[in-house]
């Protein structure tokens, strides 16, 4: 006899059958029927049609049947509010029952029935139950106030329940106290301004007494509440700490972490010279370590919190490095967190062990983990100076393994090591150069190019190396292109005689053949810089770079302090203040650590931290490649030169006749193809026309009849990945029809034929409306423009992101795949205008739960104006160059 029988259905329609059984005279049959109803409910079936029949069973002495009916009521009362009233009488009667269990059950269930009409009837019984002689009823009633508040906050305030609840904090029974605290905390969360939990030394004392005697869950509520209190001086802080420390030995890890939060916060007030301070520090380590022997889910949360604690007070766990060593069968989310903490704890004393471990991890199977381990080695080198040499040699060992992704990660971190310890480890460059061909990830390529450019004078064939990268310039990612541009300019400044051709080539590639404004801007700036004042160029481009700091990706201190107040909460898992992610308009009070000085001032004021602090950006001390010379763009380049630079002052630059010969020949050299007018600002027309064409397209595009904006073509499939076929394209919408404008370029040495295209299923069912028509075979170095009409009748599948489109293109050589994002506006219909009534009706049809509301703050209505003008300023700035 198991409950699975309740799931079996009969032929005659389940609901009908159940209805008959529920109205049966036999008690036993009724109970069985209710059980069947509950069983259907548990699997999410809708049995709300049986509401009146089930409620009829409520009048019974059988407690089990009563409980089952209550279970049903809680689930369905909301959908049948009028019927639910039928149940009220029974509830009111049950609240008078001599059995406390039944009184409590009635008040508890009533609170769960989220129907406005019922709440009115609930008030009287609830008031009685809050003052019930039996603590079990009182503690149940305390939670019920929180439930009622959730349904109707005003009612709770009007009825004075909040005051009754506050009185319960002084109740003689610890369980009642704990539940009152829990209820008040929950209510306070939706009322951040109200002073519900008005904590004073007396109430704190009561809480601490209850703490020792209540259940583990109650302890969590009380500890979380204590953490919001600010002791008036260090003595009070110490006495609270003393009474909270025993909780560190609790078997429930949530209790332990809540206790850690209280201690970490109040410790801030203790003087470091105090003996007690040292004792406390020592007491904190073992419980934190113990958390790591629990289930992996608990470990994960614990590790996220330990990560904060280690940043705030590294001394607590500095001797516990080994517990963070990774076991091969740890879940990946635990592994990555452990690794992060290992680096934070790395010091001169333990670096040898850490490195040996990291090296071990670098041979594991999991690619993500291996990558992070290799990065970690680099971070160790930057953090612990004495270990740098060992780290570099470990990295070299790893490069010898020739495992592709290991090599690439190693090169990225070695670049950072060079920036931290210049002129120390350059001997390894030769080894790095050996692996040049195997690099296929943009970050690694960019790092390698940076190294070659930075140390060009020590690498004999630097020009050859960079030239080899330049061949596929257009196929590279922006990161690599920018880096390549900078590296070649550096090379030119270091070895001007041999590399004029190269620099000319890269400048023209960057300024004329590229659609990327960053690249063009940087190209122009270098060009101008080189042509106006090579000395300045040298000073700027080859300037000594600031050393990168060891404080890599630490959490910003004010944010860290705030997060310490949120230990054990979701905020601590995400490392973001609750204001950054907590739902809804509920304002969140910013918490801050109490000041060390023993003052009477309240520090709990919400003003201490700026509202919506955008501080979750970590100070990124290692600049990404894009930034290495990014600040160049902000340089004031001095008064614009209005004519061709004729100043001969630069001739003084030794033998290098940069302007007379160097740059002039650079411009008018034999290999010169298109006159780069940009070099001569007088001829501004050309670069504006080419370089800024897309900007003008944008404006003209808006004005055209076709209506929608057309993004410039972007390279979707670089030739390198598609055996020489390069595809760039964009999407357009013209008078109701969508099309995909493609440009196919053959960069291979053989003729391409037999083109075909196919889309994967996507969010909006985009599909080609006609086959891909390429009439003539595409011969090498030829390109063809095609407009492929699209429709939206294909099969639909939700993509991530929503506007992702996966495309397969076939030709006589192979099938290639790429994915692209289409702008959503191509899907918008032109006749989308709706009349007011229609719009409002449609709006109402959207279910409430799909509606999200949020407030945009600090947004003055005229904000749009500067926005526009700054956008406009772009075209005016460039001619000024």
């Amino acid at each position: 006899m198991t409950d699975s029988k309740y799931f079996t259905t009969t032929k005659k329609g389940e609901i009908f059958e159940l209805k008959a059984e529920l109205n049966s005279d036999k008690k036993e049959k009724k109970k069985e029927a209710v059980k069947k109803v509950i069983a259907s409910m548990t699997v999410g079936k809708d049995v709300s049609a049986l509401f009146p029949d089930v409620v009829n069973c409520m009048q019974t002495d059988n407690l089990e049947l009563k409980k089952l009916v209550y279970l049903y009521l809680m689930n369905y009362a909301k959908s049948q509010p009028d019927m639910a009233i039928m149940a009220v009488n029974t509830f009111v009667k049950d609240c008078e029952d001599p059995n406390p269990l039944i009184r409590a059950l009635a008040v508890r269930t009533m609170g769960c029935i989220r129907v406005d009409k019922i709440t009115e009837y609930l008030c009287e019984p609830l008031r009685k139950c809050l003052k019930d002689e039996d603590p079990y009823v009182r503690k149940t009633a305390a939670v019920c106030v929180a439930k009622l508040h959730d349904i109707n906050a005003q009612l709770v305030e009007d009825q004075g329940f909040l005051d009754t609840l506050k009185d319960l904090i002084s109740d003689s029974n610890p369980m009642v106290v704990a539940n009152a605290v829990a209820a008040l905390s929950e209510i306070a969360e939706s009322h951040p301004s109200s002073n519900l939990l008005d904590l004073n030394p007396q109430s704190i004392n009561k809480l601490l007494t209850a703490l020792n005697e209540c259940t583990e869950w109650g302890q969590i509520f009380i500890l979380d509440c204590l953490a919001n209190y600010t002791p008036k001086d260090d003595r009070e802080a110490q006495s609270i700490c003393e009474r909270v420390t025993p909780r560190l030995s609790h078997a429930n890890s949530a209790v332990v972490l809540s206790a850690v939060k209280v201690l970490m916060k109040f410790m801030e007030m203790l003087s470091k010279d105090l003996d007690y301070y040292g004792t406390l520090l020592k007491k904190l380590a073992p419980p934190l370590v113990t958390l790591l022997s629990a289930e992996p889910e608990l470990q994960y949360v614990a590790l996220r919190n330990i990560n904060l604690i280690v940043q705030k007070r590294p001394e607590i766990l500095k001797h516990e490095m080994k517990v963070f060593f990774v076991k091969y069968n740890d879940p990946i989310y635990v592994k990555l967190e452990k690794l992060d903490i290992m680096i934070r704890l790395a010091s001169q004393a333990n670096i040898a062990q850490v490195l040996a471990e990291l090296k071990e991890y670098a041979t594991e199977v999991d690619v993500d983990f291996v990558r992070k381990a290799v990065r970690a080695i680099g971070r160790c080198a930057i953090k612990v100076e004495q270990s740098a040499e060992r780290c570099v040699s470990t990295l070299l060992d790893l490069i010898q393994t020739k495992v592709n992704y290991v090599v690439q990660e190693a090169i990225v971190v070695i670049k950072d090591i060079f920036r931290k310890y210049p002129n120390k480890y350059e001997s390894v460059i030769a080894t790095l150069c050996e692996n040049l061909d195997s690099l296929d990830e943009p970050e690694a390529r960019a790092a390698m190019i940076w190294i070659v450019g930075e140390y060009a004078e020590r690498i004999d064939n630097a020009d050859e190396l960079l030239e080899s990268f330049l061949e596929g310039f257009h196929d590279e990612s922006t990161q690599v292109q920018l880096q390549l541009l900078t590296a070649i300019v550096k090379l030119f400044l270091k070895k001007p005689t041999e590399t004029q051709e190269l620099v000319q080539q890269v400048l023209s590639l960057a300024t004329q053949d590229s659609d990327n404004p960053d690249l063009r801007d940087r190209g122009y700036i270098y060009w101008r810089l080189l042509s106006t004042d090579p000395v300045a160029a040298k000073e700027v481009v080859l300037a000594e770079k600031p050393l990168i700091s060891e404080e890599t990706d630490l959490i910003e201190p004010t944010l860290l302090d705030e997060l310490i107040c949120y230990i054990g909460t979701l905020a601590s898992v995400y490392h973001k203040p609750p204001s950054a992610f907590v739902e809804g308009g509920r304002g969140v009070v910013h918490k801050s650590l109490p000041p060390r000085t023993a003052s009477n001032e309240s520090v709990e004021s919400p003003e201490t931290a700026p509202a919506g602090a955008p501080s979750n950006e970590q100070p990124d001390v290692i600049p990404t490649q894009g930034d290495l010379l990014g600040d160049l763009l902000n340089l004031d380049l001095g008064p614009p030169v209005s004519g061709p630079p004729l100043a001969t002052s630069s001739v003084q630059m030794g033998a290098v006749d940069l302007l007379g010969g160097g740059l002039d020949s650079l411009i008018g050299g034999p290999n010169f193809v298109a006159p780069p007018a940009a070099a001569v600002p007088a001829n501004l027309g050309a670069p504006m026309g080419s370089g800024l064409s897309d900007l003008f397209d944008l404006t003209s595009g808006v004005g055209t009849l076709s209506g929608s904006y057309v993004a410039p073509k972007a390279v979707w499939l670089p030739a390198m990945k598609a055996k020489g076929l390069e595809i760039s394209g964009t999407f357009t919408r013209q008078v109701g029809s969508i099309s995909m404008d493609l440009q196919l370029t053959n960069k291979a040495l053989q003729v391409m034929t037999d083109f075909a295209i196919q889309f994967n299923r996507n969010s909006f069912g985009l599909a080609p409306a006609a086959p891909l028509q390429v009439h003539a075979p595409l011969s090498p170095n030829q390109s063809v423009e095609i407009s492929l009409p699209l429709n939206t009748v294909g099969s639909v599948m939700k993509m991530e992101p929503l506007n992702n489109l996966q495309v397969a293109v076939k030709n006589n050589i192979d099938v290639f795949y790429f994915s692209t994002l289409y702008p959503l506006h191509i899907l918008f219909v032109e006749d989308g205008k709706m009349d007011r009534q229609m719009f409002l009706a449609t709006w109402k049809d959207i279910p409430n739960e799909n509606e999200a509301q949020f407030q945009i703050r600090d947004c003055p209505l005229n904000a749009a104006v500067p926005e526009v003008s700054s956008a406009r300023s772009v075209p005016t700035r460039v001619p000024g160059l």
Partner: protein, 467 residues
């Protein structure tokens, strides 16, 4: 607080849902399934997932996912602990925590969930109290219920609910009064290629089975309590007594429960004091209760590890490693085979027999098959999961067990980069490897004389040997 709970099986069916506030649609689980897909392995699903309107906090237990839905800021550990408690309760009630068991008892499950949480606040989670409110299913009871029409829902307030000792019910009666303690220690260790210990610590627990009538007040003392400085206690233990006298004093719950768990690490603490208890060797306290399991090798087992610890203090290692492994696993370059040779032997085993030895190895993906010969025990290799399991059995020092042979690799595939780690399981009876010893158990508050006993066992926990 906890809003809703969904139970999901491995094939992704939601087979039970419970809502403590308003009803949340099942579709919220789609975010969970998405994360599950990304994680590839069920164990790698991240425990905290954020969705646009909710947070999903989940645990993976007994091939089931317990996914809870959270709407407000709430301590995730609290949720995870609670979910584990729910799983424990199912285990306790139905003997196993499986989809079948839950479906078979769905009404009881629903009643339990309702009793454990009210509006997202935990209500009654102690098994003692729950069992008074809702009786666990037994065949006898269901027969009786169907005849008498009575139910398995208790209709009086559980006595423990409000007392200061919520974990114990009143009016417990036994004809045989017994109190048994199991000291179980697990060694977590990472041993590196060369056989030296990278990391080792002992995770110990004392599980109790107490069947005593009335309200007994127990005190348990140790020969060497100073070993225990990193402990987690059952709520019944009086912390003050422990702090001042290093005695565990408590009124026990009825039945089986975990009294304490503790950790003994290989490291010295900040103050530089090693955790060696010198007093042990000089004091010999007479055992007042009959320890049947305790008689053999008392001297050996308590003194030896400590003596050893003393020797190795400078290397600050307190954790004895009872086995050693000799291994050579190699793959030849440009050939589709490799060699596998593993030998296991006793080391620091305090003269006890090491039994129940199993070696598990996750071989690299390119391994097709293995052709091995064990000198003892039997082995299996699962070509799908690439897991090699060698069931060794007992280690006899005269003839060390070994497993040797050839590894067949996928032809043409590159030589595997990673070296597999060996996972070792073993068991040593009548020994607590940390050297922890129960001294005596005293009972106050009741007049009768109980049977008392202590059993020690050491096991391998996460014991890994890198190759």
């Amino acid at each position: 607080m906890i809003h809703s709970l969904f139970l999901i099986n491995c094939s992704g069916d939601i087979f039970l849902e419970k809502h403590w506030k308003s009803v949340v649609s099942q579709s919220v689980c789609d975010y969970f399934f998405e994360a599950q897909e990304k994680a590839a392995d069920v164990e790698n699903v991240p425990p905290v997932i954020s969705t646009p309107h909710h947070y999903l906090i989940s645990i993976y237990r007994d091939k089931l996912f317990f996914v809870s839905v959270i709407q407000t800021e709430v301590p995730p550990l609290f949720v995870i602990e609670f979910l584990h408690r729910v799983a424990d309760t199912f285990q306790d009630y139905f003997g196993e925590c499986s989809e079948a068991a839950i479906k078979d008892n769905v009404v009881i499950v629903y009643e339990l969930l309702e009793e454990m949480l009210d509006n997202g606040f935990p209500l009654a989670t102690e098994s003692n109290i729950l069992k008074e409110l809702i009786k666990p299913p037994t065949i006898l009871r269901s027969v009786v219920n169907s005849i008498t029409g009575s139910s398995n829902v208790g209709d009086t307030l559980p006595t423990g609910q409000l007392s200061n000792i919520p974990w114990r019910r009143a009016g417990v009666k036994y004809t045989n009064n017994e109190a048994y303690f199991d000291v179980v220690e697990e060694i977590d260790a990472i041993i590196d290629k060369s056989g030296s210990t990278v990391f080792a610590e002992i995770q110990g627990v004392i599980d109790a089975c107490i069947k005593l009538s009335g309200m007994p007040d127990l005190s348990l003392s140790f020969m060497n309590p100073r070993l225990l400085d990193d402990v987690s206690f059952h709520p019944c233990i009086r912390f003050k007594r422990w702090e001042s006298e290093r005695v565990l004093s408590f009124i026990p719950p009825d039945g089986n429960f975990r009294l304490i768990s503790y950790r003994v690490s290989s490291q010295k603490y900040v103050d530089g004091s090693t955790r060696i208890c010198h007093h042990i060797s000089v004091c010999w306290v007479e055992l007042t209760f009959p320890c049947f399991m305790l008689t053999v090798g008392y001297l050996n087992s308590s003194l030896l590890p400590l003596a050893m610890a003393h020797e190795e203090t400078r290397k600050n290692c307190l954790v004895a490693i009872p086995v050693y492994v000799k291994h050579s696993i190699s793959f030849k370059e440009n050939s589709s085979c490799g060699r596998f040779d593993v030998t296991i032997g006793p080391k620091q085993n305090m003269g006890k027999t090491i039994e129940g030895v199993t070696v598990t190895v996750h071989m690299p993906k390119v391994v097709l098959n293995m052709n091995l010969t064990p000198t003892q025990g039997s082995y299996t290799f699962d070509p799908v999961t690439k897991v090699l399991t060698w069931d060794v059995g007992k280690i006899t020092p005269q003839k060390l067990p070994s497993l040797k042979g050839l590894v067949n690799l996928q032809s043409g595939a590159p030589k595997p980069e990673e070296n597999p780690s060996l996972n070792i399981q073993f068991k040593i009876q009548q020994l607590a490897i940390s050297g922890l010893k129960v001294n005596r158990l005293d009972m106050y508050g009741e007049k009768y004389k109980p049977f008392k006993g202590v059993k020690y066992v050491t096991k391998a926990g996460k014991f890994q040997v890198r190759t």
